[in-house]
Symmetry: C2
Subunit: 225 residues, 2 copies
DNA sequence: GAATGTGAACTCCTTCACAGCA
DNA sequence: TGCTGTGAAGGAGTTCACATTC
């Protein structure tokens, strides 16, 4: 799991815990929407797909205080996790690369409900610049510094082909963006202060294929024809 | 990192190693395309964004034999990794959910070059059934058993909203699919023999926002206005 | 009685140090 | 001399057992 190795001031919450907090938050929101005000670690854990001990250990890192014999107050836990994750305001996001994936991401409604807001879409191809995508006008890469300064863009999403990924990443960093999520299956060289996460679709499929193959060790697909 | 916890017959290659092999494979293909026939662990590791010791340890799990003092034969290493990953044939993939993301995935050219082939696209919405997406006709969920049997579909990709994810997953499992990649931010209950990977875009952004916030502990975005 | 919070054991992964070989 | 392969050390994360509190 690619993550910038250097930064040490993670507010002393382990990286593995941070990566599970959003899931807990979603489960809590869903519970709150159903009128539930108190949950036990067992209930919340099963909704999130983890073990109860895992959940309690995770929550203990935020110093969160449930009530013994009772459980956690849903509203309070939502507040605490949101604060731990640095939410409470909408983070402005820029997406670079307006191919199929970039367009889909720009239109993805999930971001908005989770505290993120796509405020800029860019592409290096002049033929795409000026086009409308998800209610935004596609801008050229050269506009990045101005857009970052103007809109306070904090996170850049790379949806370019592998070739252009490093160049686009350099442009983001030069413009002052310090957090990048890339979908390009390429190794990126970045300054140590820039946080990087990579989502690699082909790798996920490869891992699945491996698991699948190691289960049924048949050369043929396990479907009786 | 969501992965089915049960299966033990991973061909004794650690999960963490498996998740890096595809990256090595890409770097090797790229090297081969440039006419390079031998690489050292240092060269390959920097192309893949890992440490040389990590790479050598990983390769040692496949019993791979490089040549001391020289390095690895590119062609041979490609063959060994491909075999370890169970490649060598194109895995047929079905994508369920033809919203923005599903369409983008169906059109994603990366899959084809990596040993995967999107052979079916489905949606539960009758209004979408029959439409053409990436050269395929959208089929109803009910066609899954027939499609799996006919096309040997081994991997299902879920690009549905969270609501429909469990239902769609059940349909895939009932049709005989034993490996699922889901983009829906929901916990899925699946039989233990089914492998599951989850890609959660919102979670990735949350983690980035956390890292970003813990670096510059300003309430404001770190751009001098 | 019921459920949280946490030290301690355990498992997994990464990194180091260096032996082994061309 | 140069680079691979690997046992051993170190670190991170998960699970267990149980003391603690309502």
């Amino acid at each position: 799991m690619p993550m910038t190795p250097s930064p040490s001031a993670h507010r002393d919450i382990p990286a593995a815990t941070v990566s599970r907090l959003p899931t807990y938050l979603r489960a809590l929101h869903s519970a709150a929407a159903r009128g539930i005000t108190t949950v036990s670690s067992g209930q919340l854990a099963s909704a999130a797909g983890v073990l109860p001990t895992q959940l309690r250990k995770d929550l203990s890192h935020l110093g969160s205080h449930g009530v013994r014999g009772v459980g956690y107050n849903v509203a309070r836990l939502i507040t605490e996790i949101a604060r731990a994750l640095g939410l409470g305001r909408a983070w402005p996001v820029a997406i670079v690369g307006m191919g199929n994936l970039g367009r889909a991401l720009a239109a993805y409604s999930g971001f908005g409900t989770e505290g993120f807001h796509v405020v800029a879409v860019l592409d290096r191809d002049p033929a795409l610049v000026g086009e409308q995508v998800a209610g935004l006008t596609v801008r050229p890469i050269e506009d990045l510094p101005a857009l970052v300064a103007e809109l306070g863009i904090a996170i850049g999403v790379l949806a370019t082909p592998s070739d252009g990924a490093q160049t686009a990443a350099d442009a983001l960093v030069a413009a002052g963006v310090e957090a990048i999520l890339t979908f390009a299956p390429a190794a990126l060289a970045l300054p140590p202060h820039v946080s990087l996460r990579r989502v690699d679709l082909a790798t996920e499929l490869h891992v699945l294929a491996f698991l699948r193959a190691s289960l049924s060790d048949l050369p043929d697909v396990g479907v009786a024809g």
